[in-house]
Symmetry: C2
């Protein structure tokens, strides 16, 4: 096998984990960095021959544990397969290798006035292949869709080393089963993505209009968000910060940004940040204003680019601000039908009281995707998830239960990996779980592709 390989302890340890906090049992046998499809095939075949499992990896930014690699595994890291192979403005597509970073790809596309819309918060540091393997979301999904809508075709190395190109280069096509969509969000369990035909679109309009609704509670802010959707408006971005999160963000920005002007005017509040775009942005924002006004203490419309940046900057500051609260954090990722969001916030407050936990939440309110974040004192002497106290796990279990009770999902955009695997059969039901296990087995009869992740 050509290509680069590492077997030193420090590298193995670094590539055994992702950003989930999961600590695997030991380290992989090696990390390889293939530079072409043939090298990926060689790696998979070597692993198969030697009874070693394969863990595909992009930049390792995943939050669910899908890229963790324990003993007896080979990490196949795609970060050196990072070329843009083709950009066609006329065909509205780009062909790329999986290891390119999302922001790097978009920098190339922007030169042609094009854009690949998936925008996970990690986009500066996460790979396109990883975005696809996780079906990544982001801020703009309610209007611009999740990753799945922006992939036309994939070339994949299967568990037996064969290469299959699925999907197509055309916008339409119904020839055979859509297994491309099955690979999207499969978290490295069905094959290794080695080439991606991406659907691209013209750049997002530079015309933007932005407001913040300052509400008494997250329940009010969620009701305001529902009112926007019910009024048939379609903001590009609609982000909700609950009371605890808003206070943390304000505190953080007051401490770190001398130009920051606090829209809450120092009073506890939940914030709904809304941005419209396109030729009708200002007119649409006026309608948003009408929809949210009845639920808000006051509404502030950004009057300048600087003010827009400051408001959107509040959303971007959520995780730094929460980390500043002290202790460790565990980020959840439930999604509920948009109409149930207000109720979901009420339930989060109940969970806080019942388990004595601190659980600030931010939400992509346009699509009902909530990120409750447990903030806790780590268990002494432990690291990673072992440092999460038992009562926090119990509270986390109840967060999942709430999501499923409301007709929602365990994971809106982070994936199942190891962290949510235990709950997946509850969401899928027994029959679908069995069906999905059997389908996985077709792709990987011997169970060498990222075993133990997503489904048993």
């Amino acid at each position: 096998m050509r290509g680069s390989i590492a077997t030193d302890e420090a590298t193995l340890r670094a590539y055994s984990i992702d950003r989930s906090g999961v600590e695997p049992d030991g380290v992989p046998v090696a990390v390889v960095w293939p530079e072409d499809t043939g090298q990926v095939q060689a790696a998979v075949r070597w692993a198969r021959e030697h009874g070693v499992s394969v863990v595909p990896r992009g930049a390792g930014t995943g939050l669910a544990g899908s890229a963790t690699a324990g003993s007896g595994s080979l990490v196949v890291c795609l970060e050196r397969m990072n070329k843009v192979l083709e950009v066609s403005a006329d065909d509205r597509l780009a062909v790329v290798q999986p290891g390119i970073l999302n922001d790097e790809l978009n920098a190339v596309l922007h030169k042609d006035g094009l854009w690949w819309p998936p925008d996970p918060a990690s986009k500066a540091i996460s790979t396109v292949g990883g975005n696809i393997a996780a079906n990544a979301g982001g801020f703009l999904c309610a209007k611009y869709g999740v990753t799945q809508q922006w992939v036309l075709g994939l070339t994949v190395v299967l568990a037996d080393g064969r290469v299959v190109s699925m999907g197509r280069r055309t916008v339409k096509g119904v020839s055979g089963y859509d297994i491309t969509s099955m690979l999207i969000g499969s978290e490295g369990t069905l094959g290794i993505i080695v080439e991606c035909v991406l659907k691209v679109r013209p750049l997002q309009s530079a015309e933007r209009a932005t407001l913040v609704a300052v509400c008494d509670s997250a329940v009010d802010a969620a009701a305001a968000a529902s009112a926007v959707t019910a009024a048939n408006l379609q903001p590009a971005m609609m982000e909700l910060l609950d009371e605890v999160t808003s206070a943390a963000v304000v505190g953080h920005l007051v401490a770190t940004d001398e130009t920051f002007v606090d829209p809450t005017e120092g009073k506890p509040a939940s914030l709904l940040l809304v941005q419209t775009d396109g030729l009708g942005a200002a007119a649409e924002l006026a309608q948003v204003h009408d929809a949210v006004a009845g639920f808000a203490r006051h509404v502030r419309v950004a009057q300048s680019d600087a003010e827009t940046e400051a408001l959107i900057g509040m959303r971007r500051a959520v995780f730094p601000a929460i980390e500043r609260m002290g202790g460790s954090v565990l980020v959840e990722d439930i999604a509920v039908p948009r109409t149930r969001m207000a109720e979901a916030f009420t339930r989060m407050r109940e969970i806080e009281r019942k388990y004595g936990v601190t659980l600030p939440s931010a939400a992509h309110a346009g699509d009902g995707n909530m990120h409750p974040v447990f903030v806790f004192e780590p268990v002494a002497g432990e690291t990673g998830l072992d440092a999460v106290p038992a009562h926090v796990w119990e509270a986390a279990d109840e967060v999942f239960t709430v999501a499923l009770e409301m007709g929602g999902t365990l994971t809106g955009e982070h994936g199942v990996g190891l962290l949510k695997k235990r709950f997946l059969p509850e969401e899928l039901g027994e029959d679908q779980t069995e069906l999905q296990q059997q389908l996985r087995k077709v792709f990987d009869p011997d169970g060498i592709m990222n075993p133990g992740k997503v489904l048993d």
Copy 2:
């Protein structure tokens, strides 16, 4: 088994065929019209016990033969399961039974200012379940997407009679493999869709602007269409009529519509009809005008609603006009990368000369989906596809070959069914064909679901 059933010869014959022209070997053993999921399960279980295969059917408007039912089959017709179970403006979703017609659903949604965008030409007579089973396209796909983008979840009766609910009610979600997308476009071979959770959106803007570019040839019109895409514009509709099609349409409308004003001014031409929508419709059309002007003999911008209707009416008149040319017709459905469309029209002209056939084409030029239509004298004494002469079949084979050579697909929106099955392995490749066959077997180990369709 409760529910309605028919076994009389006339009904069996009527329900043995769809609109593909395929004539099956004999008639089904019975047609049943279940009224709920339990009755669908009962029908499937009865078929399984009696060694009979199952052919799911909506309105029978399919063009690929997926709903044809020969001897030894049971037709499960979903047309009586046609209820709207839920419409939620706040959650932007609708839950419906599969047998509702597309237009009927949209009439219900429009009352709430909502819209389910899939718009196959058959939408007045085709069912939502059928649209999903075929992943139907239409005029608006380049801007508004195909059916797959507008389905959140499905409830399906499997071949063993079990019921599985897949997908979700939330916009985002990455819990488990996306098997919902696999069912979409599966043409009744993986299970019977009994309930659909549809993603809906606000109604298409009533602001429209429309033009027609009158070009010397389809090659010029295709180049004009490419120029629109390359200019990063996104019309709601961009339809191309080649020279023969335009002449047929003009002839037909002159004969049938006394108010019709011919935009070609009586000279042979290929037409590119472009409609923009939304708040910036007029401004965007002006940019379209700039993009196409260099490729057109002249460009006419609709100055009134009546003129808009007249221009769009030319596209709607394509199939009636071609049928008026005399003889029988065979409609193809290839899609090619948008940049290859001009070349594809040249190849269609070559095929006309080589095989001595008449092959007018219309295209959804915004997404490269072309409908070449063979017009021919039927073989004496034969009906259906048996009446298609050998040289027309040979020419049709070459149409498919051209599509695949250009990196396109056999079928953009009509499906594989029986008509294109022979060519599918060539498009998918040997390894993917085998993979898809194995995946089908997981859903249907005994091969009772619509056997012989799509894949062997």
